[in-house]
């Protein structure tokens, strides 16, 4: 009788039932669409962060170098002459190949890696060295440092490629060729962490433990193409004494877009020796035991390594800008509240219409009470009808949700994400690796060279901005089983709320009053 009565009643007021179901369906569909779009944006964000951050790495630890510091600096053989009364002798040849950490990241003790690895809730920790190799070659010209109120210095910059000083042919820089590329020292024993964790070997092989002390290198695919390097080629890497060591290229590695990969990877121990940074690293990669521990681990590291910058994905996410960030904001704010508002409106509509339907059936319910039906049974009957409409609304809503998600997938523009530049920032791996953009700002800058004067090399690396990493992601709004279950649950909840109001109205009817209204 229960189901027969429900089906007959819904058939009788089919138009109203369809109207309520569509109202609920619109609300549910919007919730599904917004949730799917939000999940899509989150996935895109995760993908971006994944690219910028590295697989398996939850936290990175760095320390910003003191202002004005050049780290262990670049010596070009005549640095000591700058600022002194003696100058490089005109006509003397310069050919320096230097490996240095530059001035952005300060050194961290390797023992910090061990200490962090032993912390509670830390699954693994690995050290890394982010270095820059510079080759400067040329002949020292005759100089006049006082002309032009600045002058001097090297114009242009590295940018990771080969640059020769351009601009005024009479400038100092015009006489030198400059090559620069980035070098990462990789902790081979903890290869799952660190800069290589997101890369894929496109040819050759990756490092093995046997490579720990070998002069072997992996080269980034883009850099390899640009410089015509392949497996078996050799690449010269400098050291702290301005001489070069030839490394054999054993593999070509492709990093995800936006990762700002280093150009060359060499074993950490070898990098430490070359850069004269034995027992030092400048980036520590950490994996927490589980995602819930990341915050507490980050906090512990901050205390254990005073002065360090501890970065996790949340920190990085806050630095991501671009249309992904806008879409996330749109989905999380406007979309969420719009969905809630429509859902509440549809619940209210369903409740009001159900109550109106109960009011129209006063005589019917009065008769049933006169026949001995308990109020509870009548309330269940009303709620059953409302829930049936809710389920229909849920089905409609799921359909609309799929359609909405499909529309989002079809018509949404590709999302871009950028990691904001930050001159003193957190030195996350994605940014900290990138030293290429700085060049030699002290050169023939339009203003006359802020870094010029009698120190043409000042700030060459200490001021290196962390250049933005930019990634384009296509939004895919997934409609998951979980979303569908939640949506159907919401629809049933809507039905229950509407039924509760209607049932409450029906339960309050006194049979005599109900019958007297028509008698």
């Amino acid at each position: 009788m229960f189901f027969t009565y429900i089906s007959r009643e819904l058939r009788r007021r089919m138009r109203q039932a369809i109207f309520i179901a569509i109202g609920l369906g619109l609300g549910i569909g919007l919730v599904i669409t917004v949730t799917a779009a939000s999940a899509g944006v989150k996935n895109a964000q995760a993908s971006v962060l994944h690219s910028l951050y590295g697989v398996g790495t939850d936290i990175t630890v760095t320390e910003t170098a003191a202002a004005g510091s050049t780290g262990n600096g670049f010596g070009f053989g005549f640095r000591q002459s700058i600022g002194s009364t003696s100058r490089p002798k005109a006509g003397s040849k310069i050919d320096n190949n230097t490996l240095s950490s530059g001035g952005t990241l300060a050194a961290l003790a390797s023992s910090d890696v061990t200490s962090i690895a032993k912390m509670d809730n830390v699954a693994a920790a690995a050290g890394g060295l982010t270095l820059s190799d510079r080759t400067i070659s040329g002949t020292v010209p005759a100089l006049n440092f006082n002309s032009g109120g600045g002058g001097g210095g090297f114009q242009g910059g590295g940018g990771g490629g080969s640059n020769s000083g351009g601009g005024n042919p009479s400038s100092f820089g015009a006489n030198f060729n400059i090559n620069s590329f980035t070098v990462n020292g990789v902790d081979i024993a903890n290869g799952e962490l660190g800069p290589l964790s997101t890369g894929k070997i496109s040819s050759g092989r990756t490092f093995t433990t046997a490579d720990n002390a070998s002069d072997v290198a992996l080269v980034d695919a883009s850099y390899a193409t640009q410089n015509k390097l392949k497996v078996g080629s050799t690449i010269a890497v400098g050291n702290s004494k301005n001489t070069a060591t030839n490394f054999k290229v054993v593999g070509i590695v492709s990093e995800p877009a936006g990762n700002n990969p280093a150009d060359v990877y060499i074993p950490l121990g070898v990098a430490q020796t070359l850069a004269n940074m034995k027992n030092d690293v400048n980036t520590i990669y950490v994996t927490a035991s589980n995602s819930g521990d990341i915050s507490s681990v980050a906090s512990s590291i901050s205390k254990a390594v005073p002065g360090s910058t501890v970065t996790d994905q949340n920190t990085l996410a806050s630095e991501v800008t671009g249309s992904i960030s806008s879409a996330a904001s749109l989905a999380n704010n406007l979309g969420k509240w719009l969905a809630i508002a429509v859902l509440i409106a549809s619940f209210l509509l369903a409740s009001l219409l159900t109550m109106a339907a109960v009011t129209r059936r006063v005589r019917e319910f009065g008769t049933l009470k006169a026949l001995g039906w308990k109020s509870r049974r009548i309330v269940f009957q009303v709620m059953g009808e409302a829930v049936a409409i809710g389920i229909a609304g849920g089905v409609i809503g799921v359909g609309l949700g799929f359609a909405g998600a499909a529309l989002v997938n079809k018509f949404s523009s590709p999302l871009t994400a950028s990691l904001a530049s930050n001159t003193t920032g957190s030195a996350t791996p994605g940014g900290a690796r990138n030293f290429g953009g700085g060049g030699f700002p002290g050169g023939a800058a339009p203003t006359g060279g802020a870094g010029g004067g009698n120190n043409p090399f000042r700030g060459a690396f200490s001021n290196a901005a962390r250049t933005a990493g930019s990634v384009t992601e296509h939004l895919h709004a997934p409609v998951t089983i979980a979303i569908i279950i939640v949506a159907v649950g919401l629809a049933i909840l809507g039905g229950l709320i509407a039924g509760a109001f209607g049932g409450w109205r029906a339960a309050r009817l006194r049979p005599a009053d109900a019958l007297s209204k028509v008698a």
Binding site: M1, G372, W373, A512, V518
Partner: protein, 225 residues
Amino acid sequence: MYKLTNVTKDYPKGRETVHALRGVNVEIPDGEWLAIQGPTGHGKSTLLQILGGLDRPTSGSVDFDGRDLARTREAQMTKVRADSIGFIFQTFNLIPTLSALENVETALVPLGVSGASRRARAAEALNSLGLGDRLRHLPTELSGGQQQRVAIARALVKEPKVLLADEPTGNLDEDTRDEIIGLLEKLWQDNGLTMVIVTHDSSIARRAQRLGTMRNGKLTVKQTV
């Protein structure tokens, strides 16, 4: 049997209080047919609702088989209605979405009768009233007389002790009226029902054993025979 003692019923109407019943005293023995007449608005339907446990008196007692319906809890009152009292209304009050058979079944739902037994008893009741070929028809597909017969079947299918009818022929033509009253009289005789009928129709009232007249909330009862 019923025994009403000093039953009053007041209810508010705007700022005023309507005194629908003003000290009704009456006894209705088991198996009696009592007809109640009187002008509109003088308390006939109110009295019927109090007899049926659809409403409670403002004061006084309504003794029904040793139970005071004026003080019985709602759950017990519902059970009394389900078990012992059948109602027939002027407007039939059939559920419009349910068939004739299902309408009759609704009277057996509160008694917890199983589905198959419910359908069998409902079909039997309709058959006995000459509606065997109308079981699947909706109320709108039946004539007024047929609808009232369905309502009678619904009232009697649970074999109640009391049948209360409020203007059962008020919406019927003369021929159908005679048919329905003849039917009710036969059922009363065959089943030993206690039957209280509120009616404006004197020809019906004269067929009852006793005739009550309601005026200004007061009831006077006399023998018709």
